[in-house]
Symmetry: C2
Subunit: 326 residues, 2 copies
């Protein structure tokens, strides 16, 4: 009596389901999933498209990286609120040709992400399509009142980012390039592009310590995302070129500082955290957190525009040149 | 500083956002939405694809029906658990040509559904695509322990359905047909296909009264969905052809009983409820609930197969011939 869709669902649940975890009273296999909320906490809800052609390429991206990344991206939104992921819903549309080996690889990457982020499959929807379409909804939670929003930044707050910006974009370029650069860090950049690590521990720590006044994850590039944080907080920002943590490249590679700055300002997919801290609390932010570098790149201003200060102190307006599908 | 995506999000939130409702502490415009869970209740989580070409046709389906139906379908899964919808996440991928008039119509239908179901926009994701892609996640809740699952049916339980089955399928056929039939009920069938009504009040009532032992919504057709309910409950079923509430058609229209039975057995998209009731509680099920007919169509059996009894008592196996994308 099994239909094709039922067989596909069975394949997915066999690869992923972790029964009895996370307060999931009921997972895949009913009309809906049931989740027991935890007392004293608010739910954190987020969903993300991950579409062939727009977000990944069928012939360039290994299926296990697509499985990892579709969950990592959605979990990153929970990290950016200071929350903890609990479960996810997977909507998957596949060509019939991709329900075998490709699906196996995809599910291996997704299962690895599920374990790493402690975020378990609760349900979803499957259908057939000539292109691979993925949508992931993550349900997380955060102690009530402790979520860090985009809207809390105040003038004079200092602006911080985690990690180095532009690495994932460089990874994507390396992946697309027909002539591999052979650079020793190439694997590292490609890995950051294919298997991003949402900054869950950092986000929770900043929320628990009440250090961050505003926070978001960097998915579309610093210039675009910082302008969104500033718009939500009704403020502006001034950041300094030489303070932005850029990709580390030996000079003899012929890269200009400008090229690396462009990458760091406008490159997407880094999934690092961007957050603001009151000046008197800035000393409480360490230079690294669990091995991840944290750097101050500028400050929030009352004047509602984004300014970029060059090494000689010259300032220019910073346009939002990050990723925009429209 | 606004990007194209930001403008699209603004359009959506202006059409939909109902601030301060539903315990939504934070809606659209941050990395994730925040929802306050209600004490004594479990969360009900469900998501649904709604894709151009598979689930609707750009040139046949009015945009406001696509807006209505994408939410109605997902809400129907919450109804099928006996739950109450609280909020939804909208993932929308559109061609640039559809961000004007088409989007306006879509949002009008969606806003109407949002008010009707008291299920409010909490967040989502937008991107560009050459085809229209929609995914809706609904977050609802249900008193803890009261959700009605697919897996609770026991042998000898009676099987009920709400409404008349096959009407939505007939509506789809009327909509696709180049030669309108002119039948007086044509508008009614098309309306049922375009603007389905999830059976929220019935589902909640059955759960509250503890009348239903198992329940699901009929989205893929009775033959397919009943086989799923039986598989989840590890039972079989025997249903009677002449008890199935079929489309009402005058005989002179030349329709055979067989044609109407096929429609009722295998036609999808009705979003009626299928539920089972212990024999001794069957009398507590009224013949109609708030104007919606409820009919007993057969009973659950220990033997794990689906049998269809004809008018002369002859029995045949019922194959699952409902909608299956694969």
């Amino acid at each position: 009596m099994k239909t094709g869709e039922d067989r596909l669902v069975r394949k997915i649940t066999q690869a992923l389901a972790f029964r009895g975890h996370s307060g999931l009273a009921l997972g895949v296999g009913d009309d809906a999933a049931l989740l027991q909320p935890r007392p004293g906490r608010q739910l954190v809800l987020s969903c993300d498209w991950f579409l062939e052609g727009s977000h990944f390429l069928r012939d360039k991206h290994p299926p296990d990286s697509i499985g990892w990344k579709c969950l990592a991206r959605a979990v990153s939104d929970v990290a950016a609120m200071g929350g903890e992921p609990r479960c996810f819903l997977l909507s998957l549309a596949l060509p019939e040709t991709h329900t075998g080996k490709w699906l196996g690889g995809f599910l291996r990457g997704l299962a690895r992400a599920e374990r790493r982020f402690q975020c378990h499959l609760a349900g979803g929807d499957t259908t057939r399509n000539h292109k691979i379409l993925i949508n992931v909804t993550v349900i997380g939670d955060v102690p009530t009142g402790r979520a860090v929003l985009r809207s809390g930044a105040k003038p004079r707050d200092l602006i911080f980012v985690s990690g180095r910006l532009g690495e994932a974009e460089l990874g994507l370029r390396s992946l697309r390039s027909e002539r591999p650069s052979g650079h020793e860090n190439r694997t590292r950049w490609i890995k950051k592009h294919l298997y991003p690590e949402p900054r869950l521990a950092l986000g929770r720590w900043l929320a628990e310590k009440r250090l961050a006044t505003a926070m978001m994850d960097l998915s579309d590039g610093l210039s675009t995302d910082l302008s969104r944080l500033c718009a939500a907080s009704r403020v502006g920002a001034r950041i300094a070129i030489d303070k932005i943590p850029k990709v580390a490249l030996p000079k003899e590679k012929g890269r200009t500082l400008l090229g690396l700055t462009e990458l760091a300002l406008h490159g997407g997919d880094d999934y690092e955290l961007l957050f603001t801290v009151r000046p008197k609390q800035a000393d409480a932010v360490p230079s690294s957190f669990q091995g991840l570098a944290l750097g101050c790149i500028g400050e929030i201003t009352r004047e509602r525009q984004l300014m970029l200060a060059g090494p000689e102190g010259l300032e220019q307006k910073l346009p939002a040149h990050g990723w925009d599908p429209f």
